[in-house]
Subunit: 187 residues, 2 copies
């Protein structure tokens, strides 16, 4: 942020009175422009022994497989957003949705909120998807998953399915994805 979005004046970075961190503040209209994390919402569609993934048509990670998900919009609930993304990216509807997985990704200022839902009818692609496909556990392209959270969710989901219990978890992404795709993590 360089300019005040309310009056167009160049902002300064300072710690406002009664605050303890640097903010963008407008020296003219005195508004503090807070920057806050964004919520990414999505849904893992399930179909019997299979789950639905989308191959990304856009950067980052174009060509890699992911769970339908995207930025939550103003005016919608988390589930609204998850269902919208499922429609937009996988041309799919789901039913019986339940909250399943939350992630904190503090280094990119994001929170992920993911639901599970049973695929209801057909599926396809949208403008951000090259291909959609159902995968059984032994078909998951572990080295071609787009993001760490996808690896975590699929790993947990197939374990949970064996027990029939799907507890809601919250954590940062694990290093499992980096291991699968051969990325070396900083030590």
């Amino acid at each position: 942020m360089k300019y005040c979005s309310d009056c167009g004046t160049e902002v300064v970075k300072k710690i406002p009175v009664d605050d303890d961190r640097l903010r963008f503040v407008c020296p003219l209209c005195e508004i503090t422009h807070y920057q806050n994390p964004k919520v990414v919402v999505g849904c893992l569609p399930t179909a019997g022994q299979q789950i639905l993934l989308c191959r990304r048509a856009i950067e980052p990670r174009i060509g890699y497989w992911t769970i339908p998900a995207g930025f939550m919009e103003n005016g919608e609930t988390m589930l609204d957003g998850a269902l919208r993304e499922t429609r937009e990216e996988a041309a799919a509807k789901v039913k019986g949705e339940t909250l399943y997985r939350l992630f904190d990704i503090p280094h990119i200022n994001q929170v992920y909120v993911l639901y599970l839902g049973e695929l209801d009818g057909d599926f396809g692609i949208g403008p951000e998807t090259l291909e959609s496909r159902l995968f059984s556990e032994d078909e998951i392209p572990w080295t071609e998953l787009a993001f760490p959270i996808v690896t975590d969710v699929l790993t947990e989901y197939f374990k949970d399915r064996k027990t029939g219990k799907f507890p809601i978890r919250v954590s940062i992404p694990s290093p499992l994805w980096a291991k699968h795709v051969g990325w070396k993590l900083p030590t």
Copy 2:
């Protein structure tokens, strides 16, 4: 938003290519300025049969009782934020924190993520709090709670404590608060 925060040019409202809703777009640098929901994080501190509430020193709802909570900051996890707010508003630490309650509040573009935690040591007040107090169930000032979500969380918490199970729920706020404080809801 009236001006581009990157270049200071007056923004226009239009539907960008490959999008389906009105956004603020800069006609000069062509950046789309998305507006997204904010996350409010907090923690209900418990102490044996009691819970800790704070009486608000700031608007909105000054003088009314609430759970320590506030806007999640960039660079922190949801739990980091919940613990920070508990320190800031109730001068309190907690231990054994668990995720407890999510709310969608789509009409104000907010998501709430609340934890439960056992009060660890003393408590007090911060600049946004007039008073902090432990309440047992029969002492809860139901008509003086600050927000609908506080009514919901406390109602659910005291029910859950009887069963010893604290399932993670997600919903919009219920009309219970309006009923308690005598507000008439739109029909």
